[in-house]
Amino acid sequence: MDFLLQGLLKAFELLTTIDPETFSAVYATLVVSAYSLAVTLALGLPLGFCLGYFEFTFKKQVRVVVDTLLSLPTVFIGLVVYAFFTNRGPLGEWGLLFTLSGIAVGLTILALPIVVALGATAVESMDRQLRVTLISLGANRQQLFLSTLWESRHGIIAAALTAYGRVMTEVGIAMMVGGNIKWQTRTITTAIALETNKGEFAMGIALGLVLLMIAFGVNVSVSFLRKRY
């Protein structure tokens, strides 16, 4: 247990002295998660809403495919993205391998099915009487759409938070596509994996604490917004 305690103490020291290597990993994590989440929400929320809201042919089949994609192994996504971005791959000339952008692409592929599936569930679980109520109060089609979106906001926020949590804590894609390059593509999670392998528990614990603090901050903000709206 001593080494854990020493690790904890060292972790506080790294954080309070703003250790450059530690904060480089934090910066990389924030950048890739921000980019991937922005794209995921921009694409995934409308797709998820449409999947839950509209009736169309093959809707059930599309739902099965989306739900299946929720179980995609992260190392498989990493492998496929690596294969596409490597020099011999179809998108090799984009130069995205071993870059933060490349990691963001992989994380987007991971997070998109989460937002689509959970967003669709949030809309589908809306009370059927909402539609009757909105139409009977005089809503036109556009107002019906926007009001339904607003009423399902809590479920949609939960979908976004779930995706965010997944993206922040992912290791496989970041390792395979990013290469865990110090000062460049080393994220919190890949750094924890590396430092633990080296026996350097202090930095691993420090990074883990940072991860927790970020997650806590995000959840507190969302909780505040939920109460207000």
Partner: protein
């Protein structure tokens, strides 16, 4: 409604050849669970489109979202449903989407007062903090604030407390008085419906039968004595009917008469006489007649009498009487 048919999951749930509902009236719709009342109200309220046929408003075909009905016809569903907002924002929703937000707080307050709620106390309450009765009253206030030309209500007093039920009844009658709102109400509370409605329709298995005074008895039917068809009742009496088209067909019995004798007196051939207990007397507003409810074993029967007849026969709740009907007046649905 003209040539209207509505199908749900491959099963026809409503079939109306022709139905005209007069403007400014109070129309009641009565029927057992599953008879199609809610479907009828959703179609008449332009919330859903029928599978076939058309619904007209002011003589012109209309459909959901059509501007000519969207701001004039409103439906209060059976289950009270409010959006995840405060009471004020729920009641004001219809005004806001019509861009009629002037004097919003005052209008919301007034609408809440129609249903017996104090705006100062309730306006800022979140919808989840309301009881079932309060929620239904707020839902009604959200419709009344729009001063609709037509207000349809699906079991507005079901599953709520007696005070809320009375406040809702008073509020809708006020709407009719003050704005000439046409009311169409589906309810099991036939005593209330007969008391306020100009017309009452009976809906069974998706079809309108008549004026709501019919007695409807459900199968299964069986062979009783002398090879006749009917039911053996819990008190030993036998309810007789003509041969049913199928075991579970519903029998519609009209023109039931009531006699003050406690013991049933045999009638002529083809007549069925049964003994029962008067449970209720209700005034039918439209005709001034008295609707008398009689419980025969565990089956309810109703008959319509004049005030003179009720007085002469000294009919009152709790009195044993005999009811009689003709076998050839039994129709099958």
């Amino acid at each position: 409604m003209r040539g209207l048919t509505h199908v749900y999951r491959g099963k026809p749930v409503l079939s109306i050849d022709r139905l005209d509902l007069p403007r400014g009236g109070i129309i009641g719709v009565i029927g057992p669970n599953g008879s199609g009342k809610s479907t009828f109200l959703r179609l008449a309220g332009f919330v859903e489109r029928p599978t076939a046929g058309e619904v007209l408003f002011d003589g012109k075909p209309a459909a959901p979202f059509a501007p000519e009905v969207r701001n004039r016809v409103t439906l209060l569903p059976q289950e009270p449903f409010l959006m995840k907002r405060t009471v004020l924002n729920n009641v004001a929703y219809g005004l806001r989407i019509r861009k009629a937000s002037d004097h919003l707080a005052e209008r919301v307050d007034k609408a809440l007062s129609y249903v017996g709620l104090d705006g100062k106390d309730f306006a800022q309450r979140p919808s989840y903090a309301l009881s079932g009765g309060e929620a239904q009253r707020v839902a009604l206030a959200a419709r009344l604030v729009l001063k609709p030309e037509v207000l349809l209500m699906d079991e507005p007093t079901a599953s709520i407390d007696a005070l809320s039920a009375q406040l809702i009844k008073d509020a809708v009658l006020k709407a009719r008085r003050d704005w000439g709102t046409t009311l169409i109400v589906a309810s099991h509370d036939w005593q209330w419906l007969y008391g306020i409605c100009d017309t009452v329709f009976h809906l069974l298995k998706g079809r309108f039968l008549g004026t709501g005074r019919e007695n409807i008895l459900f199968g299964p039917w069986e062979r009783v004595e002398n090879g006749q068809w009917g039911k053996r009742l819990a008190d030993g009496q036998q309810l007789l009917v003509p041969k049913p088209p199928e075991a579970l067909a519903a029998a519609v019995i009209e023109n039931v008469t009531i006699m003050p004798q406690a013991e049933p007196v045999s009638g002529a051939a083809g007549q069925v006489t049964l003994s029962g207990l008067i449970t209720r007397l209700a005034l039918e507003k439209a005709s001034g007649s008295i609707v008398v409810s009689v419980l025969v074993a565990n089956l309810p029967f109703t008959a319509t009498l004049t005030e003179h007849q009720v007085r002469n026969h000294e009919l009152y709740p709790g009195r044993m009487v005999a009811i009689r009907y003709n076998l050839n007046s039994v129709k099958w649905v």
